[in-house]
Assembly symmetry: C2
DNA sequence: CGCTATCTTGAGTAGCGTCAAGTCATGTGG
DNA sequence: CCACATGACTTGACGCTACTCAAGATAGCG
């Protein structure tokens, strides 16, 4: 085999290995040593591409994989019998989705790409078996599940007790923080979801979301033009959102 | 040691061992064989008693244990900065609470007894270590965490999309089912929580909860007298609650 | 260029919240 | 034993927030 060919393969492999992934400090294998990282590497189906609008899984699908987001943004949602939608989360790079399916071996919500993106598939049975051998991985996985529960509780607090204004401010603050943590601008945000989807997340109608955006704009907190958002007064936004904290 | 003394000890031990616990088919060690069951037994601090109103843990407490409820009912709740309360769940025998604390090593919500009850404390570090050796236990634990996520998503759907009437019907149907699963009457229910606590769970004010109870009573769905509840028309109640299902 | 999807804005309304008064059961002290 | 206080609940009147319905604006797309 010629040398340049070998090199190509290595580059291709490197590009997608956990060890060289820019997300490794955000993703499941946080804190693993090189050897253990390789073992995790070996069970992952790396870099499945998703087009905007494409589903990762749907309610009722057999559960086999957890999905670690590498690139792009995704929403997870449930529909009730009447077709009402509740968005349970907007997810971005480094987050793990599909955790709700473990208990019933079937996905109980759906996940869809809001823009083009990439996902690493993690075979759950293999992850469980590996996490029996690597305590750090086990602990990390438990933290991820627990974090999901914590963030669900935050959303409950929002849905159960906050006003429309407080809900939107909380949503924007949270989005800004998470983008910042991933190296994006916390001020200039491209919204990958529609007003209706934001509403279905916050327990509001799309008209109410739109009105609140306009109100925040009038008050000089943000500038919105369709899906382009500029946060002009982070502090004021945070102050309104503060009420969702303990 | 005299025989009668020995017998006494055995009885005392039997009364609190997982292997003889009436909840073993509902609780964490579902499906374990006798040997593994004993190993789980050995790490558990059994039967801590709680008086009505007593806290199991509070926001900010160091996380050390998961808590398996043996007897009684408990609520888990969070307070936000303004003192608004969101109840994240009413929990009863066989349920595991404290799962939200894993990610931060601190409890992020509080748990309080709604009536006198008993709880088994499970040291989390020991549970993790044991679950590395007992795959069935590991799987079971993951199922419990995942079930928590699923039920949180149900509550989100309720809070985000349902009317007051639908919320209360869903609450009552769910309560009835869970009591039935534990061998209690699904029709004659003693409510261990106040109207305000129900409201803080359902995202409603206590007056609205009270009005909805009265409405259900007028319509012949239930009979309520303070905290004693009789379900007169299970089917009608289920029909109203149905909308919270996928 | 017109069609469609998405978003904004207005007017009117319904549902739930707020405030307040009253009931009832239980507990307390004289 | 009664007078009174207290906490939990119910009910009514009224108000406000967010919803509904509708019309119009704008960008993207075939």
């Amino acid at each position: 085999m010629p040398a340049h060919h070998l090199e190509k393969i290595n580059i291709a492999k490197l590009k997608v290995a956990c060890s060289t992934c820019t997300l490794r400090e955000l993703c499941l294998p946080i804190g693993l040593n090189a050897v253990d990282l390789d073992r995790v590497d070996s069970i992952i189906n790396r870099r499945q591409r998703y087009k905007s609008g494409q589903h990762v899984y749907r309610t009722g699908d057999l559960f086999q994989f957890l999905y670690a987001i590498r690139l792009g943004s995704f929403k997870t949602y449930e529909l009730n019998k009447d077709g009402r939608e509740q968005v349970s989360g907007f997810h971005m790079a480094g987050e793990l989705i599909g955790l709700d399916a473990i208990s019933s071996d079937m996905h109980v919500c759906s996940a869809v790409a809001l823009e083009d993106g990439e996902i690493c598939e993690i075979p759950f049975v293999k992850l469980e078996s590996l996490s029996r051998e690597i305590p750090t991985l086990q602990r990390q996985f438990h933290r991820f599940m627990s974090r999901e529960i914590t963030s669900d509780h935050r959303l409950m607090m929002l849905l159960g007790t906050l006003t429309a204004e407080e809900r939107l401010a909380t949503f924007l603050s949270n989005l800004s923080e998470r983008l910042q943590a991933r190296g994006f601008s916390p001020r200039t945000i491209h919204l990958t979801m529609s007003r209706e989807e934001i509403g279905n997340y916050l327990g509001l109608k799309l008209e109410t979301v739109s009105r609140m955006f306009s109100k925040f704009q009038e008050e000089g907190l943000v500038e919105v033009d369709r899906r382009e958002l500029k946060i002009k007064d982070t502090e004021a936004l945070k102050r309104i959102a503060e009420c969702n904290k303990p």
